[in-house]
């Protein structure tokens, strides 16, 4: 899974597979970070959750 594990091959299969995998993880991670940061920002600016227009 990581380049330090000896099955790691620097070939096209690994690039595509691991590339997509880490891309997906990054997107999910970044999404969470964004949601988290926005939450912190809103909290610091003292916004009331009920003002956010609940669906």
């Amino acid at each position: 899974m990581l380049p330090i594990v000896f099955e790691w091959h620097w070939d096209i299969g690994h690039f595509v597979f691991m590339g997509l995998f880490y891309a997906a993880l990054t997107v999910i991670g970044l999404g969470l970070v964004v949601a988290f940061r926005s939450t912190m920002k809103d909290l610091n600016s003292g916004k009331d959750p009920h003002d956010l227009g609940h669906h």
Partner: protein, 410 residues
């Protein structure tokens, strides 16, 4: 004991006593599953009736089946958030919960199914990227994370939890960027539904399962995706319908169900055309190249041609055609029937690919062996269903799953 302050805004739920009485069923099944799991982990997989000929058993069938049926989550999510079919917002929560149940249930089951659960993570650590199963493991795990992310805001919307401002705001922001998660989930799901099919299609030394294909993907790769997205929405709708019957309350408008039926129907027609073509090609080209006829593969024990007729005819073409008719979709009972047939077809398909593939001897001098699951295997399988019942019951009782419910039951 009054738990009504935890109920979603504006709806009624059954008395706590009745609810607890209902929960006794999943809890009892859960007890059976716990005992089975303990035996399988402590004593090993000799507690099952699997063997070297039936390397996969009922667990893998249940796994594949619930993952296929749980596809409602990603496909409905895709339609709702990415294609912006807003009417589906009325059922997306249910789809996400069912998806979460199916995927987490499947992962739990796999943890018992492998002979060395403590090494489960080797699949990641020493990943063999050429294996379809590796793709499945990576995608299912990653998609399970997505499902958690999708499920969390719903939990945070519980009437009491949402009173905590931090959590409410966090839920709001998660909702705001849900399209990102939905898109990632669609991508991941697409691949692992396909890889699950690919798992069987690549078995080129197993004539029953093997399929030719496109590039590295055997046709089963695409067929499994299609059958999953054709049956997933049906399954979600069926669960909603069942919940309606159980609670005696209408939860979504019938038009939402009809839409889900229509989506299922069109996808199923598409799937059936391709599946029929695939079967014909397999029977007339792939198999003869291996020195076999289709008849050779449908003559062992109970695995006769009836399986093919049930899967493709009764549970394939019939519901596909039924769902094409507006009249059928309008009638609650017929819609449910068509959806049940549709879902059974997907389960049948997973069953034959898992079990019949292994049951048919390939060596000309090999004997046919039979397999019936042990009570421990049934126990674990029942446990997954119990887990689903428990989680969905709790979610329905305490979370605002159905936006239309309050309106429809005024």
């Amino acid at each position: 004991m009054d738990d009504s302050k935890f109920w979603p805004q504006g709806v009624k739920r059954c008395k706590p006593g009745m609810f607890i009485a209902w929960l006794l069923l999943p809890l009892a099944l859960g007890g059976w599953a716990t005992l089975s799991a303990f035996l399988c982990l402590y004593k090993g997989l000799n507690q099952t009736n699997m063997n070297d000929y039936f390397a996969f058993g009922v667990w893998i069938v249940v796994d594949l089946a619930i993952i296929a049926l749980g596809a409602g989550a990603f496909f409905t999510g895709y339609l709702t958030y990415v294609l912006r079919r807003h009417e589906l917002k009325n059922i997306i929560n249910a789809a996400v919960i069912i998806g979460f149940i199916c995927y987490s249930g499947a992962i739990l089951m796999l943890g018992i199914d492998i002979g060395q659960p403590a090494r489960g993570w080797f699949g990641f650590w020493h990943a063999n990227v050429h294996s379809m199963l590796t793709e499945v493991m990576f995608c299912i795990t990653t998609y399970a994370i997505v499902l958690i992310v999708e499920f969390v805001p719903l939990i945070l919307e519980n009437r009491q939890i949402s009173k905590v401002p931090d959590l409410a705001i966090f839920a709001h922001h998660l909702h705001r960027i849900m399209i990102v998660f939905a898109a990632t989930g669609t991508f991941l799901s697409f691949f692992h539904q396909g890889s699950l099919g690919g798992m069987f299609g690549v078995l080129y030394a197993r004539p029953f399962a093997f399929r030719t294909g496109y590039m590295i993907w055997p046709w089963t790769f695409f067929l499994f995706i299609l059958s999953a997205i054709a049956s997933g929405p049906s399954f979600t709708t069926l669960i909603v319908m069942w919940t309606e019957k159980m609670s005696g309350r209408q939860l979504t408008s019938h038009s939402v169900k009809m839409l889900m039926g229509k989506i299922s129907g069109f996808l199923l027609i598409f799937y059936m055309v391709l599946k029929t073509a695939d079967t014909a090609y397999w029977a007339n080209v792939t198999l003869p190249n291996m020195g076999l006829t289709m008849g050779d593969l449908y003559k062992q024990g109970p695995y006769g041609e009836w399986l093919l007729w049930v899967e493709l005819g009764l549970c394939g073409w019939l519901p596909a055609i039924m769902l094409m008719f507006q009249k059928v979709r309008e009638t609650y009972g017929l819609l449910a029937l068509a959806m049940i047939l549709n879902c059974s077809g997907a389960v049948f398909n997973r069953f034959v690919f898992t079990i019949q593939s292994l049951a048919i001897p390939v060596l000309p001098f090999e004997n046919f062996a039979s397999y019936l699951p042990s009570w421990q295997e049934w126990g674990i399988s029942a446990g997954v269903i119990a887990y689903g019942l428990l989680l969905f019951s709790l979610a329905y009782r305490y979370l605002p799953v159905f936006p239309q419910e309050a309106e429809l039951n005024k």
